[in-house]
């Protein structure tokens, strides 16, 4: 995974922000699996909507969370890898 890589949601998804809790919920219509994202995961998910790269997401979130950019970058890569494994997102060429 490269820092400049960008991602977007698979077209099999249904997702929305629940207005009361502001939790992101996602359903993959390919296999009916569903997910809830809050906190950092939610921020990363929404950054994907803006088609931001890993570097850009890291730079944005480091200003919100009191954590080193290296640790944050590793966490972001780990989460994005999970999203790729679950076929929720794909890498934009």
């Amino acid at each position: 995974m490269k820092g400049k890589s960008k991602y977007y949601y698979e077209n099999s998804l249904v997702w929305q922000i629940e207005p009361v809790t502001e939790t992101i919920y996602v359903m993959n219509k390919k296999n009916e699996s569903s997910y809830l994202f809050t906190n950092v995961e939610k921020e990363i998910w929404l950054a994907i909507n803006e088609r931001r790269s890993v570097i850009e997401i890291t730079n944005t979130l480091v200003e919100i969370y009191d954590i080193s950019s290296e640790i944050l970058r590793k966490d972001i890569i780990k989460f994005i890898s999970r999203l790729l494994d679950e076929e929720l997102i794909y890498e934009i060429n």
Binding site: W15, Q16, V20
Partner: protein, 350 residues
């Protein structure tokens, strides 16, 4: 098809608009004898731009589920564009269509768009019965051909079967067919007046003698059961998380409650949802507010609908006479101890 019970429970609790039914047009290629559409001489159609504006607003409000209905939506040349737009915005999309105008190319597209399901109506597996109700020769054959294709492309299908006095002995064959095809099915003997209050469709209802012989079996086939009606039970729970937008832009609380609470050409959806006093009243109606039903001895077996009460009796809070007959039959049956009746009465077909 997905299970959304937790999502809707939460939405009902918080009155979050989660599901919207949109009547994309009123034009239809069938002329079903029981249909609620009162006049085919006018044709309404929401424009693509209006629909796009609505989608953007719905997305911001937290809407998840979109149910497109008609008329017959596949008479619209831009129908696939509308569905594509909705899916590109990650709504969960279901379609109420008679399925007669589909073809393999369209079905392939629908598969690629990951729609949730298609819901259509079969009145019979006998052409002469089905076509006589739709008013169109060959309508059953077209729909059946497309149902085969939908199965071939692994798209979820729900078949609705409305039991009238013209097709009252068909439901077992419909259930067998759906079971063999892996389709869900919904059976109902409920027929309602037209939108303008014309009661002529009620002449198609099956009579009490038929219901006494068949209702329990129909209930069992559709897995409906009893719900205890306590005084604080919301009467119209669906109105707490859903709305209906008609093809002329009018917004109503429900597909069965034809009371306009605003029009999308004049009001934002958010304003209608948040500010309509009528909607607020309907959303907060509880069983204890009903005139007669709150003390009715068969209420636990009843599927009354406030929209139908308004349409047929002019009063949102009144008893539905026909549903009361059904409830009485159920109570008599179960009070004889033939079978224990647990769980909840499922909703009528909306």
């Amino acid at each position: 098809m997905k299970s959304t019970s937790n999502l809707y429970e939460f939405a009902s609790k918080n009155k979050t608009l989660t599901a919207i039914t949109i009547e994309l047009n009123t034009n239809c290629n069938w002329r079903c004898k029981h249909c609620y559409i009162d006049d085919y001489s006018y044709e309404y159609e929401l424009s693509f731009n209006v629909i796009k504006r609505l989608f953007i607003e719905m997305r911001k409000m937290g809407v998840v589920d979109l149910l497109f209905t008609g008329g017959e939506m596949f008479l619209r040349k831009d129908i696939l564009e509308i569905i594509k737009l909705a899916r590109s915005m990650f709504f969960d999309v279901s379609l109420f269509t008679n399925a007669s105008l589909l073809n393999e190319s369209v079905i392939k597209s629908l598969k690629c768009l990951y729609i949730d399901h298609i819901s259509c109506t079969l009145f019979s597996l006998d052409d002469s019965i089905h076509d006589s109700i739709t008013g169109v020769n060959g309508s059953l054959q077209k729909t059946m051909e497309n149902l085969k294709l939908l199965k071939q492309y692994n798209i979820d299908v729900e078949v609705k079967h409305i039991i009238t006095n013209l097709n009252m002995h068909e439901h077992k064959r419909i259930v067998e067919y759906c079971t063999s095809m892996g389709f869900k099915y919904r059976l109902t003997p409920s027929i309602w007046s037209k939108k303008d209050g014309d009661h002529s469709p009620l002449n198609l209802k099956v009579d009490e003698t038929y219901l006494r012989k068949n209702l329990i079996e129909i209930d069992e086939l559709r897995s409906s059961s009893k719900i205890v009606k306590h005084e604080n039970l919301f009467v119209c729970n669906a109105t707490r998380y859903s709305l209906f937008i008609m093809a002329n832009g009018d917004v109503t609380p429900c597909t069965n409650l034809y009371k306009s609470i605003g029009n999308i050409s004049e009001n934002s959806l958010k304003d209608i949802w948040k500010s309509s006093e009528y909607l607020n009243k309907v959303q907060n109606l509880k069983w204890k507010n009903l005139h007669v039903c709150k003390n009715c001895e068969v209420s636990d077996f009843c599927m009354r609908c406030s929209g139908i009460a308004l349409l047929e009796h002019g009063d949102l809070l009144s008893c539905n006479r026909y549903e009361r007959i059904n409830a009485t039959i159920r109570k008599e049956y179960y009070s004889k101890g033939r079978r224990r009746h647990n769980g909840k009465i499922c909703s009528t077909i909306c």
